[in-house]
């Protein structure tokens, strides 16, 4: 695990600091974290307490640190130990007492740990040099708006449908908060906002755009597992400015729970951005520092993405859905292609759009690789799509009883749904994923109808999803019913084995079943005990112990050396017999020792002729 030490806000590193040292600052001569909040009303200026400024800075440092420090490679060397990082922060804050509370620190550590798989340590120190003023980050304007709710707005289909639901369905006045770290994402968000204004909703909402990035430096780590922490902190800060104790995260349940689609995706390698456990953790952090109960609402947690898409349709906004974007590769966008079609978000989005029958509103030509017919044979590109479809295929046939056994990752969410038992949550998650699997399979089904001729003619690329679903020819013989139970019962009925050995006097070895033997000093020791063992077995009597002093004389060693030799011989034999023959030996099961009497071979051993050993 790599260790990183982050000294923030002008803090210096003490001499001899171990690990890689990184300096982060939102202001001053070493200003390298860009933080800008646009379009906040002047009237709200007094609603920005110091702890909120602290919160924004802490979140920005955590997010920028995440991008500045590399995880291990995708090869997951040493079983993924390099994927995890050890992150230490030293941050000057305005309200150290609030940040240094045990409950705040543990909530931060546990939530960020679960969110990112990294380990977090925080040292919050009282600011000694002047910290940034609110004017540094925030562009204040003259407008004024009252708000019913604050929601995060990423520009993806979920947050867009959520905004429509709130503005049109519930007639709420909303503050929409958008975070961006790239101009292309900003332009997607602003384009959608313009479209909403153009549909007569301008007086019903206000958009706050926030930019947080590393200044003048390209990120070295793109996984950005802490992005949702930043996003949530920004949402909390804006909600607080508007006098709210809650805000809303619109994200469908399938993505929130994000059950891994392949077995190498463990822990946070499938993002947990809005995982219920993370959401409860965010609530706990905010409640601790603000000294009041904070709620984060997730109204789409029991919906599939298709169901979320249909929300926009229900309110008559289908035509704008095509403008949303969730692609993680904005650098690959061109005028013609606005979605890479390869990343998990693009695949998920397109399946949902087609399942909702939205192909007229979501132009397939804007995807660089077509979902069903695009060639994905170029190495890595196939894995994501293939795994996505296979997951749905498997889930479709999964019984309710098998659910937790097949997808144990879901367990971490079971206790995190407010007002619901773990059993109820398990049932609802199963139903949610079953609907998702049905959505995916319905798209494949329709694809077969649409491309039947080309499939039969064999003119679709072999690396496209439809072709990969179509080639089935393996005939797998069915397993005999109960074979597992019968085999298990047979194994369970086996009697404990007794150890057989043979003395090979030609080669001076004690030989056991398999290819295991002992020789040298080990042989001499056992051989010195064999005669009394053998004669007792022949006569049917209990055989005597050989006194330690006599045994030492026979072997020509000191008693202390004899004891050490005995330990070595026992260890060698016990370890090999456990592995080779499944025999579990205790200390006295091979060479027995009785205090003040000496040593003998255990009477449960069986000596056989060398040729009979392998029978």
């Amino acid at each position: 695990m790599k260790t990183f030490k982050f000294f923030c806000g002008g803090k210096t590193a003490p001499n001899g600091t171990q690990g890689k040292v990184v300096f982060l600052d939102v202001q001053g001569t070493n200003h390298n974290v860009k933080l800008k909040i646009e379009d906040i009303s002047k009237g709200l200026m007094s609603n920005i307490p110091d702890v909120i400024l602290d919160l924004i800075e802490v979140a920005s440092y955590v997010y920028c640190a995440d991008q500045k420090t590399k995880r291990g490679s995708e090869m997951l060397t040493d079983m993924g130990s390099d994927w995890r990082r050890d992150m230490h922060f030293s941050i000057p804050v305005r309200c150290p007492d609030l940040w240094n509370k045990e409950a705040t620190i543990s909530s931060l550590r546990d939530t960020l740990g679960f969110l990112s798989d990294d380990t977090y340590t925080f040292e919050f120190v009282p600011a000694t040099s002047p910290l940034a003023t609110k004017q540094l980050y925030i562009d204040f304007t003259d407008h004024n708006i009252a708000a019913d709710d604050v929601a995060l707005f990423s520009g993806g289909i979920d947050s867009f449908s959520g905004a429509i639901d709130a503005l049109v369905g519930e007639k709420k006045k909303m503050i929409l908060v958008g975070h961006h770290s790239a101009p292309k994402i900003n332009s997607v968000q602003k384009g959608l906002i313009q479209s909403l204004r153009g549909r007569g909703l301008a007086n019903q909402f206000h958009f706050v755009s926030i930019e947080v990035t590393n200044k003048g430096e390209e990120p070295v780590e793109y996984t950005q597992r802490t992005r949702s922490f930043l996003f949530a902190c920004l949402g909390m800060a804006i909600a607080h400015m508007f006098g709210k104790d809650s805000f809303t995260f619109y994200e469908n349940g399938v993505v929130s729970l994000n059950i891994p689609i392949t077995k190498d995706v463990l822990g946070a390698r499938a993002t947990r951005t809005t995982h219920p456990k993370v959401i409860r953790g965010f609530e706990s952090i905010f409640s601790e520092i603000l000294g009041k109960s904070v709620t984060i609402k997730t109204p789409y947690e029991w919906m599939t993405k298709k169901e979320v898409v249909l929300r926009a349709q229900e309110h008559g906004f289908s035509d704008l859905v095509g403008e949303t974007n969730s692609c993680t590769r904005p650098r690959s966008w061109t005028q013609q292609h606005r979605h890479c079609g390869i990343c998990s978000q693009c695949i998920d989005r397109r399946f949902a759009m087609l399942a909702a029958d939205f192909s007229a509103n979501d132009d397939g030509r804007k995807y660089k690789v077509d979902l069903l017919t695009g060639d994905r044979s170029a190495d890595r590109e196939v894995t994501m799509a293939a795994a996505y479809v296979r997951f749905a295929q498997d889930f479709k046939t999964l019984s309710r009883n098998q659910f937790l056994s097949k997808h144990p990752q879901i367990t971490s969410a079971l206790s995190s749904f407010t007002g619901m038992t773990a059993d109820e949550a398990e049932e609802k998650i199963y139903q949610l994923y079953m609907r998702h699997a049905e959505d995916v399979m319905s798209v494949i089904n329709k694809g077969f109808d649409d491309y039947r001729t080309r499939l039969i003619e064999g003119t679709l690329p072999s690396g496209c999803i439809l072709s990969m679903c179509f080639n089935r020819h393996v005939i797998e013989p069915a397993e005999t019913p109960n074979i597992h139970a019968e085999f298990s019962a047979f194994m369970d009925g086996l009697q404990p084995k007794r150890c057989k050995f043979s003395v090979d006097r030609k080669q001076n070895r004690i030989v056991f079943k398999g290819d295991f033997f002992i020789d040298g000093a080990d042989y001499n020791l056992v051989n010195a005990l064999v005669d009394s063992f053998r004669s007792a077995k022949q006569n049917g009597t209990d055989h005597t112990f050989v006194r330690t002093s006599n045994l030492a004389v026979t072997l020509g060693v000191e008693e202390a050396s004899l004891r050490k030799q005995l330990e070595r011989t026992r260890k060698k034999v016990h370890e090999r017999l456990a592995v080779d023959q499944g025999m579990v030996f205790d200390t006295n099961d091979f060479i027995e020792n009785k205090e003040r009497e000496g040593y003998r071979l255990n009477s449960s051993l069986i000596e056989v002729a060398l040729v009979d050993l392998e029978e």
Binding site: E74, M75, D78, W83, K263, P408, V474, M491
Partner: protein, 265 residues
């Protein structure tokens, strides 16, 4: 949001050879399982020292003993598993998951993916055993769950639990690597003709692992009977580590014997 980071196979000679087998198509499950176990052996040997892995296994064997106590929840709390009174199946498993997760966070510098796999194998084992041993004619009550779990403390059932745990773990270890590559070998005449056949292959790997770990039943039963009952020992983490070490060595050997390579052993 909802990003997923997929892995890549390492680039060493052994792994390149495995990709070579896969590309050639027509691969025996036993051979690919053995080749992956061989190539991942070094990483696994290091990962066995992951303290959270040991906790996942240690807690699993402690749960049935807690179920024998009148106050199941209190007995579980003593080993760091926090559940509501009279826990249901889901609540018990969620408590186990949280306890291993805490161990992963506490032991962070030494944590590997093996402890995550062990946690999953533990959950699967508990879930299957509770369902198998619960009444079938009516919906299991919370008392039924406790009684079902308590039966796992017998030597016979410990053997079954250990086999299920190690089978799940070995299967996950194989697929941890295989899943990074297998989608690139889909098509006519290739290793898997269609996406559906990947699931067939997964089923075949599961069966292979179940059979390979069958030897664990007798061994575990003996080990447990001797330590827990005959000697009356409290099985601690150190004893668990010794047990796991022997188990892995036995399984590794069995995987080899069952492969083509094993024909010459």
């Amino acid at each position: 949001m909802g990003h997923i980071r997929l892995g890549k196979l390492p680039a060493s000679k052994k792994w390149r050879e495995i990709v070579g087998y896969m590309a050639a198509g027509d691969v025996l499950v036993a051979d690919i399982a053995n080749a992956i176990a061989d190539a991942s052996d070094k990483s696994l040997q290091k990962a066995i020292k992951d303290p959270a892995f040991l906790d996942a296994l240690w807690l699993l064997h402690k749960i049935p003993w807690a179920a024998k106590e009148q106050n199941f929840a209190a007995a579980l709390a003593k080993i760091g598993i926090y559940v509501p009174d009279n826990p249901s199946r889901s609540e018990l498993i969620a408590g186990y998951d949280a306890a291993v997760q805490r161990s992963q966070q506490m032991n962070a510098p030494h944590v590997t993916d093996l402890s995550e796999m062990a946690k999953h194998a533990g959950i699967t084992t508990l879930n299957n055993l509770i369902q198998d041993k619960s009444p079938k004619l009516w919906e299991a009550t919370r008392q039924d769950v406790q009684q079902s779990v308590a039966t796992i403390s017998s030597t016979e059932n410990f053997g079954e639990m250990a086999q299920s745990f190690f089978s799940g773990l070995v299967q996950h270890n194989i697929q941890y690597y295989l899943d990074r590559e297998i989608s690139k070998h889909v098509g006519p005449g290739r290793m898997v003709p269609s996406l559906g056949d990947i699931s067939v292959m997964e089923g075949a790997i599961k069966r292979h692992c179940d059979e390979t770990t069958m030897i664990m039943r007798a061994f575990s039963k003996d080990w447990y009977g001797k330590n827990a009952f005959h000697l009356g020992k409290d099985i601690d983490r150190k004893a668990t580590q010794g047990f796991a070490h022997v188990a892995f060595t036995k399984i590794r050997k069995e995987l080899k014997i069952r492969s083509s390579e094993g024909e010459n052993v």
